[in-house]
Symmetry: C2
Amino acid sequence: MYGLIGKMKTAPGQRDAVIAILLEGTDGMPGCRSYVVARDPTDPDAVWITEVWDSAELHRASLALPGVQDAIARARPHITGFGERFETEPVGGFGV
Amino acid sequence: MYGLIGKMKTAPGQRDAVIAILLEGTDGMPGCRSYVVARDPTDPDAVWITEVWDSAELHRASLALPGVQDAIARARPHITGFGERFETEPVGGFGV
């Protein structure tokens, strides 16, 4: 499996709008086992995204899906940058 | 919801043993929505754990469960420390 843990920074006041866009497209992504969107309780402009995929290739392929492309286009104007980013190799657990 | 993202450091050569212990106890934890154990591809002695719970209280209560207490006792000799740790407020997604 392939995992990603990452923090996204959003423009002031736009976090909930970005989260709503992110949540629209989390179903029906081939190879996606888990995709969790979370607020950062210490930063009103930060979003954490944790992802588990069958493979890095399927994650990469997802970025070309029409629904994902559309979400990226709509969210991009409200994204100001990225913070921590960690790739992982999930081995198991609950909910994955 | 309540989320945790954390990195655990294990003694040299003991990572797989610690992961096996962690994976034994991931079912049947009340309030646990997701508990993913992952290797760090950049550090042979590091494990990432990402968790989603219904509440911080249920996460805290889980630490007193007999199965969790037993796992902690068996893993502790092989744990040398902790790295990054982030609390989050999950709002939704896939697999949670």
